[in-house]
């Protein structure tokens, strides 16, 4: 049950990332000038930019409550201390995220705060995905260890590279940087991901616990590259439009959402590498036997 609930939280968080992307893409970030209320009400008339901004706040509130339940649930039933800490960290992240969202409204979108809000959203989503993974039967089943300590560095470098790319994307969206840095870093990130995935598939293709996330990661990354091109082209094509156009909004928001999924998938792949790949003599068995009550 805990696993299913954590999957629900992760899916809701992805929806929240999409809702946030729609706010920025529709240029509706400051359509509600007050916070935490909206136009002094809990429920203003949902029209124009208010629909996107207040809708984002409603989804965020729901995710906040779901995360609170998740953290308490984990604390009550989990025996793994690090997972309990992760549950509380998720709660802390969603609270911090709410505060950053409020500050960005009240201080009229200071760029560092808005970029921080976007980056923390991606990290929070990855945290919920990781919790869903740690509570899953697949994690519990485990698998054999393989000899490949050198893979650790790559498994660390790939998500770091993806995160830098997301931060550059957020900086471009909030006009702190042009799109050039984001575009220039894309081949680096893609290269890092390809290097990691290729090495896993070349050396450990028979290891399902490593192969599956690696394949998912390369699939999402390639889709993300094409979505990035589509988002950029749509922005160029509609630059003279008097308002944000649907084609640009759809491609850009999908690009942001898939970016969050790329980060989460790269982190999951990294987790799997650190769990299963190393010196076999140093970790001869599955690291943890999990309790049945989770």
């Amino acid at each position: 049950m805990l696993h299913r609930f954590s999957v629900l939280v992760a899916c809701s968080t992805l929806l929240l990332v999409v809702a946030g992307a729609l706010v920025t893409s529709n240029d509706a970030g400051l359509s509600v000038p007050d916070w935490p209320l909206s136009y002094g009400q809990l429920m203003p008339k949902m029209e124009g930019g208010i629909f996107w901004e207040h809708g984002h706040r409603m989804v965020a509130t729901t995710v906040g409550f779901l995360t609170l339940i998740l953290a308490v649930w984990i604390a009550r039933v989990e025996t793994r201390p690090w997972l309990r800490i992760l549950g509380w960290s998720a709660l802390g992240a969603v609270v911090a995220q709410g505060l950053l969202g409020g500050i960005t409204v009240l201080l009229l979108q200071p760029k560092p705060v808005s970029i921080g809000h976007a980056c923390l959203a991606e990290l929070f989503f990855s945290t919920t995905v990781a919790i869903a993974w740690f509570t899953s039967p697949a994690w519990r089943r485990g698998g054999p260890n393989v000899e490949d300590p050198g893979l650790h560095r790559l498994a660390l470098a790939a998500p770091v590279s993806v995160f830098i790319q997301l931060a550059l994307g957020a900086a471009a969206r909030h006009k702190a940087l042009g799109a050039l840095a984001h575009i220039a870093w894309a081949p680096v990130t893609t290269g890092m991901v390809l290097w990691l995935v290729t090495r896993i598939l070349m050396r450990h293709s028979g290891h399902g616990q490593l192969r599956t996330p690696a394949l998912a990661l390369v699939t999402i990354t390639f889709a993300q590259v094409f979505l990035g091109i589509a988002a950029y082209m749509s922005r160029i094509a509609t630059v003279d439009a008097p308002q944000p156009m649907k084609v640009m909004v759809v491609f850009t928001s999908a690009h942001v959402a898939l970016g969050a999924m790329t980060l989460a998938c790269s982190i999951l792949t990294g987790i799997q590498v650190f769990r299963y790949a190393g010196r076999v003599s140093a970790c001869p068995t599955i690291p943890e036997a999990l309790p049945a009550n989770s």
């Binding site: 400051l30 509600v32 029209e47 124009g48 008097p242």
Partner: protein, 257 residues
């Protein structure tokens, strides 16, 4: 962990407090502008005039249609689709919504304060007028004639930025900009097509071109001036002009599409 949250709370409080503090400082400056010789009556007998028009050459831009379907109240206000006012070329080949002002050359003195209030209305989910000029510190009366919520969000670089909501047919707002700034974009984030521009200057020598594309800058003391014409799409251009007492000179601009 506890220390972290306390620090975060303190930082947030300081940031919020810092924002409010800026507002007070600017209000103070608005009350007491930079030291300059006291206001003296303009010598009308010797005053010069600069007139002109802002022409447009090249292919006439096609006005983009605005989609107001996201807010039915906005769509209902127009019997035909509303067009963007970003680039409006008049029938006589001149350019509308160009801000023309004396950018440099005026003597260092205070000019008599403007006594009137300038109106900025939100009507049919468009800013009316699309472009306006005001004196630094002059009152701008912002009204909402629409049956829908708006937020008014100027994006100055020199003056203080603010963002306030205005409910349907809500109370008027009286606002000022303390410092000279050409131009300040104003937007409504509820209706992202709504854009207006405000030119804030320290003197009374400015104009916005209308349906005839013409402008008149009256009451200038004799001297040599830099006149700037600013357009939101086509940028800015300058010309120098020297006027003697009682003289009237023509200065025409031409923007290329």
């Amino acid at each position: 962990m506890k220390k972290f949250w306390i620090s975060l709370g303190v930082a947030a409080a300081l940031m919020l407090n810092g924002c409010g503090g800026g507002e007070k400082k600017e209000e103070k400056k608005a009350e007491a502008p930079a030291a300059a010789p006291a206001a003296a009556p303009v010598d009308d007998a010797n005053a010069a005039t600069v007139t002109g028009k802002v022409a447009f050459s090249g292919a006439k831009p096609t006005a983009k249609t605005i989609s107001m379907e996201a807010t039915p109240a906005c769509a209902r206000a127009h019997s035909t689709p509303q067009k963007s006012e970003e680039a409006v070329v008049n029938d006589n080949g001149t350019l509308r919504y160009t801000f023309v002002w004396v950018k440099a050359g005026l003597p260092d003195r205070q000019w008599p304060a403007a006594s009137n209030t300038v109106a900025l209305d939100q009507s049919g989910c468009m800013y009316r007028p699309h472009m306006l000029g005001v004196r630094a510190g002059q009152d701008i009366e912002v009204t909402n004639s629409d049956p829908t919520n708006h937020n008014i969000h100027p994006l100055p670089k020199v003056n203080r930025e603010w963002n306030e909501s205005q409910p349907p047919k809500g109370d008027k707002k009286i606002k000022q900009f303390a410092r000279e700034e050409v131009m300040i974009p104003v937007k409504c984030n509820v209706h992202p097509w709504m854009k207006s521009y405000i030119g804030v200057v320290n003197h009374p020598f400015f104009a916005v071109t209308g349906e005839d594309g013409a402008f008149t800058l009256k009451g200038l003391p004799p001297g040599e001036y830099t006149i700037e014409a600013w357009h939101e799409k086509y940028g800015a251009m300058e010309q120098k002009v020297k006027v003697e007492a009682k003289e009237s000179k023509a200065v025409d601009f031409e923007f290329k599409g």
